[in-house]
């Protein structure tokens, strides 16, 4: 639960609330970029960040992202995180 997982910011969706879309191992997810917001938000698009419980906590370079993903995969953490993301999205979908 404490590890977080690398994701790439793909678009800013709500600048006022500092929300963006991130692609995390192929899963799309809304994330809050407040922790890493410095300067224009648009500059974050394309950047990699460590995503922890829906928050982009730290910018990392693409090489570090790849290494971290590999390490997390070996620990079984990637599947766990993605499953939690999917389940949470499905739960919200049902509550429309």
């Amino acid at each position: 639960m404490c590890l977080g997982i690398p994701g790439q910011i793909t678009a800013i969706t709500d600048a006022e609330r500092m929300m963006a879309t991130a692609s995390v191992s192929g899963v799309r997810r809304e994330v809050c970029v407040a922790p890493i917001a410095q300067g224009p938000l648009e500059d974050l698009v394309g950047e990699w960040a460590l995503i922890h419980v829906g928050f982009a906590m730290s910018r990392i370079d693409p090489d570090e992202a790849a290494k971290t993903l590999e390490a997390l995969r070996a620990l079984g953490e990637v599947e766990e995180e993605l499953a939690a993301m999917r389940a949470s999205a499905a739960m919200l979908e049902e509550t429309r």
Partner: protein
């Protein structure tokens, strides 16, 4: 060297292992007189077992598994309070999945859900916030659990709820902080720690400054480490080198992710929303001063403790841990998991009796998952 082939760079791993062995010999560490290094973070505990690092390193190095798994240190009384909140008919109780199976006195959250309580697993407090927006006629409570890495997420969520003026969203805050239990362990006369491998992602938020007291006041080295097995080995080497050279410093092996100053935006959000509680109870460690956080007066309408009158200290009784559970002894490094009479008998990952068996970051679950024959060895 069964596991070395699994490293991304086996050659580098072998070189670091050889360096560790050399320095361990220089210090005079042996199986009978080992150097005790605590990895504070549960993620590190998991990685150590996954790669069998405890077996790969020189035999004079002993890992002590620290209190850095938030689920594992959650006392039963907190779980009981969660269940009590979840059983209220107007409440939707939201939590990270990790907390679902932690045993309470009566039941776990998972059992409460099976019995009809509206308990929902969410990936993020942002999803609990969204649920509150979608269900204005229900009370959505988010179980705020975790260390400094996770605390900013509930702080940001509460700030956002305040901006929107939501009236049906609260956080049941049980966040805890890493430095106070380290201090408590160092003050414990039974503890024989020689150095620490520091948590990577907690440090990404708080930076390295909060650890300085460990070197300054206690003369012990700490090296902040990443999560790759090679990161861990390099950090162990850095700790050993400090011991050999008679140094005690806070070093950062994970500088590519952890800036010395941490994450200022997150620190500011946490500071805005939370304040330390005078004291907080840890499973196996007891009450530790200023180790837990509560929501400040300014945000009291988002505080589940205030709104529902349930929370830290309101029940006025400590709850005993289950009979035969040795979690406290394991957590303070006094025994290894297989020495617990319940290990693998009354307590398995499918039917956990103690919290250390619940999460893959818990020492007992890690031993069980990767231990194999190792679990049979006497502690």
């Amino acid at each position: 060297m069964k596991y070395v082939q699994e490293f991304r760079d086996p050659k580098a791993a072998k070189a670091v292992l050889a360096a560790i062995a050399r320095v361990a010999d220089e210090i005079g560490a042996t199986r009978d007189k080992p150097v005790h290094i605590m990895e504070v973070c549960g993620g590190h505990t998991h990685a150590i077992f996954r790669y069998g690092l405890d077996k790969l390193v020189h035999e004079g190095i002993e890992f002590i598994h620290g209190p850095g798994c938030p689920v594992c240190v959650l006392p039963m009384s907190r779980v009981d309070e969660c269940v009590e909140l979840a059983e209220r008919p107007e409440v939707i109780f939201t939590t990270f999945g990790d907390a679902m199976r932690v045993p309470g006195t009566r039941k776990s959250l998972l059992q409460a859900k099976a019995d009809g309580a509206d308990v929902r697993m969410v990936y993020s407090p942002l999803d609990a916030l969204e649920l509150a927006r979608r269900t204005p006629d229900r009370e959505v409570i988010f179980f705020g659990l975790g260390f400094e890495t996770t605390t900013p997420s509930t702080a940001f969520a509460i700030q956002q709820a305040a901006r929107e003026g939501l009236t049906n969203f609260t956080v049941f805050a049980n966040h805890i902080t890493v430095p106070p239990p380290i201090k408590a362990l160092l003050d414990d006369p039974h503890m024989v720690l020689d150095g620490f491998v520091g948590p990577g992602h907690v440090s990404m938020v708080i930076g390295t400054e909060p650890y300085q007291f460990i070197a300054r006041d206690y003369g012990k080295p700490l090296v902040v480490a990443g999560f790759e097995p090679l990161d861990l080995l390099q950090s162990v080497l850095m700790v050993l080198e400090q011991i050999r050279d008679g140094r005690a410093e806070i070093e950062n092996q994970y500088a590519r992710v952890v800036p010395a100053e941490g994450n200022p935006a997150s620190i500011a959000a946490v500071e805005d929303v939370y304040e330390p509680r005078p004291t907080f109870a840890w499973r196996g460690l007891g009450e530790i001063d200023a180790s837990g956080l509560r929501i400040r007066e300014t945000y009291r309408t988002f505080d589940a403790e205030e709104k529902f009158g349930i929370g830290y200290g309101t029940r006025g009784r400590a709850v005993d841990e289950p009979e035969g559970c040795a979690c406290g002894l394991v957590m303070t490094g006094r025994i290894k998991p297989p020495a617990c009479p319940q290990f693998g008998k009354g307590c398995t990952p499918d039917m956990p009796l103690g919290a250390l068996m619940v999460s893959s970051e818990g020492a007992c679950a890690a031993y069980w998952q990767y231990g194999g024959a190792r679990a049979e060895e006497p502690a």
